[in-house]
Symmetry: D2
Subunit: 463 residues, 4 copies
């Protein structure tokens, strides 16, 4: 008859220990203050594990039912906020297992058969992250749809396109929005690739070597919706690549949002004045009563640093660890959780702000007409007249210098003076010097012509 009369130890693992854990150590090593968040995934995994143990005959049907019912009850308590988490029980796994045993007795003590916290936590994080990826992809797509609407609405709005923050060529505001959208679509695509590597099952690897019990991993794989089984137990418990890959993809999302933020902050500044952000997305100043600040954009730009820093943390944490599990890995959770939250919250607040911004079309157009933005069109005009591009470029440079000296725009130069620089110029030149003409002329796949913008919107909507 099994020995079950021993009083339960203070820790679930301290059979061989001579002294109690130092309270400072307990506080330093506990993780339940942050990994409690994994509880729904932990319970999902435990139910699947128990179900499998039942199917292969390690647990009885009654035991499986007791475990499943007990875990579901605990899940209810947790979501109702009634569950008492105990730091002395270290982590989410031990807290739930102990609560289960308190509730259902011996069957609870059998749940950890053929399992270790090492494969258990790896399973939990993957289930959590799979959900997070799905939510993030949804948020990216939703923002991308918003941009499609803005792009369509502003297809004919002309703004200066910048390189080096100098006016380069006029572009369609809608085209600019589609450039933002392209970034987001790549992000979603990258996350979908990352999801393939997340959605693989470590469960069944136990501590690091597998288990002598006759488990059937395909059962848990099916129950938990994993795409496949990780077929090396050492790798399964030590791999955190998927978390790093997620944080890399998240860093790119934040870099994109930060780039958009930089532009919004510029556009909302007095000298640019291309857009106005709605009051409800701005805040004021405690001392300067006139201020209306683009705080969301600034905060998101700042939060890119946070996510990039978390990526760095994870790389540093993993960098020199021998196989298999080391406690360093406990430090993977907070940066990962923070990254998930930061990205999702940033997308959720950023998208409606962009959707609601007012584009000040006259200011945009006026700015696009400055800075000799159609100089390239003049060069291209000369090329069409037969001047080699490099010579055309040089001729236009001299026209620009002349106009700068005169304090006028290219279109305001007298024809004769331009002809003195190049006799390839004739009076049809003025047609190419308007910003509207410039934009409309770039009428190929990927070009900024409003017609192309509308076509791209159509393709996206019908795709």
């Amino acid at each position: 008859m099994p020995d079950t009369n021993t009083p339960p130890p203070a820790k679930l693992w301290d059979g061989r220990f001579d002294e109690a854990t130092d309270p400072l150590v307990e506080a330093f090593t506990e993780s339940v203050s942050f990994d409690a968040r994994l509880a729904p995934y932990d319970i999902q995994g435990s139910i699947a594990h128990a179900t499998m143990l039942g199917r292969v005959g390690i647990l009885s049907a009654e035991e499986v039912t007791a475990i499943t019912d007990g875990l579901n009850a605990i899940a209810g308590e947790i979501s109702a906020g009634d569950f008492v988490w105990k730091p002395a029980l270290e982590d989410v796994h031990m807290n739930i297992e102990q609560a289960l045993t308190d509730r259902i007795g011996d069957a609870g003590k059998k749940l950890h058969t053929a399992r270790s916290r090492n494969d258990q936590v790896a399973t939990d994080i993957r289930l959590f992250l799979r959900d997070a990826v799905d939510q993030t992809i949804a948020a990216l797509n939703s923002f991308a749809d918003t941009l499609l609407d803005v792009a369509e609405r502003e297809a004919d709005t002309i703004v200066p396109g910048h390189t080096h923050l100098q006016v380069a060529q006029p572009v369609s505001f809608g085209h600019h929005m589609l450039a933002w959208r392209a970034m987001l679509l790549r992000d979603a695509e990258r996350l979908a690739d990352c999801r393939k590597r997340i959605n693989r099952m470590p469960l069944g690897s136990a501590a690091l070597a597998g288990t002598p019990h006759p488990i059937d991993r395909s059962i848990t794989c099916d129950l938990l919706g994993f795409d496949s089984i990780i077929d090396n137990s050492l790798d399964a418990v030590s791999d955190r690549d998927f978390a790093i890959e997620f944080c890399s993809a998240a860093s790119l999302i934040m870099v994109h949002l930060s780039r958009m933020s930089e532009e919004l902050i510029l556009w909302a500044s007095a000298p640019f004045g291309f857009v106005e952000l709605p009051d409800r997305f701005c805040t004021g100043s405690s001392i300067m009563p006139q201020k209306k600040n683009p705080d969301i954009a600034e905060l998101v730009r700042g939060k890119s640093g946070r996510v990039i820093g978390s990526l760095q943390s994870l790389l540093v944490i993993m960098k020199g660890q021998p196989l298999a599990y080391n406690r360093d890995n406990q430090e993977d959770k907070e940066p990962l959780f923070d990254t998930v939250d930061t990205v999702l919250r940033s997308l959720h607040v950023f998208a409606p702000m962009v959707g609601a911004m007012a584009v000040k079309r006259e200011r945009c157009l006026a700015a696009a007409a400055q800075g000799f933005s159609t100089a390239t069109d003049l060069a291209d005009y000369l090329v069409i007249k037969g001047v080699p591009f490099r010579d055309a470029h040089s001729i236009v440079g001299r026209c620009v210098r002349l106009a700068t000296d005169r304090g006028c725009d290219l279109a305001e130069l007298p024809l004769t003076e331009m002809q003195a620089i190049s006799d390839a110029i004739s009076d049809d030149v003025f047609d190419v010097l308007t910003v509207e003409g410039s934009v409309a002329a770039r009428d190929h796949i990927g070009g900024t012509a409003p017609a192309q913008v509308r076509a791209a919107v159509q393709r996206a909507r019908s795709g």
Copy 2:
């Protein structure tokens, strides 16, 4: 008649400038000292561009031939080391274009029609990186094959599996090698995903807005072997996601090599002594004549810092840039090139070293038998006898404490003393306390049993 009599300017862009570039500035801004490396890709792209210009009627057939022949001749000079790079011409693009014009005259000046350095350099880097990815995947697969051989050879070699660098459970050395291989396969898979986002064509986006010339981007796309055309010109010239994604994947490769290095350094140390590295992969000491150091592993571990740092550099560079191209992006090349080189060189030197290391099987086995590595087997034995896992765990903890006090191993404890701790123990217990038995028992997909290791090798070979 076009004006072509003007003497060429010192810079290809200085028509509007009043003073020459400061020499300090010229030295600071030039990039040809590192981007000359892109020459083959730049020429490949230019030939495709000229061919397209010919097909749509912008260049004559003679001009296309002259350009193509000229560029091929320049490519020959470059690969022969006979080409003189001029920092005053700034970058690889201007150097080659100027050399072409010097060689073929006016046709050379027409090459840059409907193109800008912005879409040109984006094309070059993508072509370069596509090659680099293919080479890296090949190197990963080659190393993975080496590991397959070692795994098969050492399937029956037993080593301690560690968690927390404490002896955990005995595992097959071959199983450990397959865990390494699993990391590399993920790396290759990740690069293949990254390649999809690299292999898209920016060419035709010109400076940022497209071009008024009647180009046909599908022609260049086909000629250059791109999978698709990037359909937003602003995005095409400003996107460097693909470089960052590559560096993220490269960082993971280096993290993996660094983890392997950490293990090799440990295993080659005197107290572990699990492997011996061949002399030809080691170096000695200038002062300590007895030293034989695992320098390759240490350097690779160190080089992980280099690659991770480059990833961070790129993220910082891109983090707040408004669209479209900014000169900050010139700084993307050195970290990217260095990452490509570091990863490839590390793989090329690491793989044969691992293939040639000698595994000291007796040392491995002896170490695996220490540290109560079969304690979990005892717990599992008790579970099979009907003891709930948690109680079994506690019983074994007390057995371990007893053995520690006696200074003996679990298998050396008298049966009666074990039975005093739990009456579920009988004399068949000694069968599960051997390391061979422990390893063989973990006989499921992903488990460490030698039979599973051999099966995994077979699957890999036939897959």
Copy 3:
């Protein structure tokens, strides 16, 4: 008569706003959930500010008293946990100011005269960080003292000194402890330098340009114990160098603790076995009953990634911000707070663990005698006999090869065989081949001789 009849706005700054802040935006931009921690410093700063306003005649004595009493009462509420923080009031500053006005009326509304949240928060963080630096220096010094004790106790304990994790030369364990101590002393010195740049006063810079009110900044400077006044208002509100410098110093502390952790983990491993960590600083395994894991060391090693990541976050956040204050800076607090906490907690738990570890002297000595650790002594012996060092090095290399082939140590080689390699060797050679002799011979400042270790301890104690 002043207008004070207007109902207070929902936000303290929304006079010019047409619509209420979006709840999503409110949640996204609030900082009180983390900056409430600055409350004691905020109140300290406000009391000093009010006192100064009183001394220069901007506030009446009664107003100053009301403000001071009100703030002290609020401080009491906060420390008692009775204060209700309101996210709608955004941050710690607005929460306290509103509570003050609710409590004392109009005088509370005058507190923000000649001040902005920009100089206020800069002041708060500096006061907070000054305290944190002082605590960290104290923790470093306390750990350094612990190491002095261990060094003295283990001055005569001989361990292998490693390079490349290969046995290099025998060293005193106490000497090794003093190397650790040297790292910590540099850390403390670096923090003291950093403190100079922290302890400068931004208060009085208002939003960014100073104030037209007749303030006297020297009064607040004295009251708050700052070393000096920051004499440029734009710099004062935008500078976060001091936080980055602190995080750099903190990263080095964590790198040091991580290096020590790496060594402790190695030393506590079965093959090394140099030390045993007390049970109360270790934890066990949920599945492997025999495990006793050096979790503290592993966690600290992992936490180095966290602190390094936070440094990176701050650098990224500040990297491209134009002057003066931008909302990005709100993101500086969480990484800074987390860094302060992580470093302090790590030092507090690490130091007593190191103080309590048991050094297993026989294991250490045995390991030091392996691996030809006295080969360098043989070379030095030859040098003293007149052999040029390079030749001596080569001779010893051949002796080592001979001993390797024989499977014996250098001291076990027959004299005649050594003499066959070099006739400079005579029978006094065996005196230099003992580890004790090797260690004792390195008897100069910085050398590992136990006498030097004891002398260093003495210097430290009397210094």
Copy 4:
């Protein structure tokens, strides 16, 4: 008689090796391709070491002379570009030592007595970095002086001070320049602190434990100008804190230059138009003939990523290394060298550009007058009239809203309408609504009043 007849080994350390180094390994491990740069410092250190060996009687006077003369001759060859570096000799140290022995025979072989490459390279890097720090401090001070001149010249130029890139309050352009200068002075101060920790001598620590030879480290310390001797040999050879601390300080310098760059790029953009950069510091476009780009500022902003990445590399490299020297440390040099070069070159090109920029005073003034920049002055006016600050803030908010609705500035609001909002306003209000009045009123230490700017310049010049 010493044995010196053995043919020299291919490597200086291969006495115990059975096979030659693999060529791939040789190429992978060599460092002379980058550490040759340390040659002057290596020779300086070797001469000091030889001199010390002579003074304590280990070398004869003739040997010291031969070594010194030989090394000086080699130094001449190196600086003349005549020295042939051999990768097979691994590094700068071995190349020089071998060349010395080739030149002077046996005395050369004695140079490495009582020394190891471990303490040698640590000495070299410290000497190199001490020089680099001195040059960087000089460059910082020179740039700071330039800013003093600009500040004085533009003390009366009024620009908008921004927070959140929104117009906040008018400030003196000179004041803004002094804010930049304050960053640089902190950088110089930080480097001076770092220099203290660089300028300590590791030499005499040999491989890791010191040496049995009767060295006198105070002699080499004096000869090399070190401030003190590092008094723990293990620490001396493994410490790279000083390189990391330098890179941290360098990262802050680059963050500062990046922030200045961000502002210059903004100011040089068409919508801002506050400054014009001289042509000689700008470059043009290969396609857009009108472009004049602030490339230096953009490149410097980009290079901040490079330096920050190198800091991260070094932290990662050092993060988990056990004592004492590991080959990972070879990877410390390239990031360090690159950081030194990048910072110096950036400062050298940036400072004259800033000195030569033209400030467009009318554009600055016009921008400063927009955006209700004197709203805070109105609030302060009300406070002086007795309105509590918070009420004043609210009143001004309503005035701003009124002016916004009217499309006019605050100074253009009719007095009666303002009085309808607050009866504390009388006709003296218009005096405080001018930007000149606003700036002049901030007349305290640190405030933006031109008088304060001039006073600050005077203090700096006389200090």
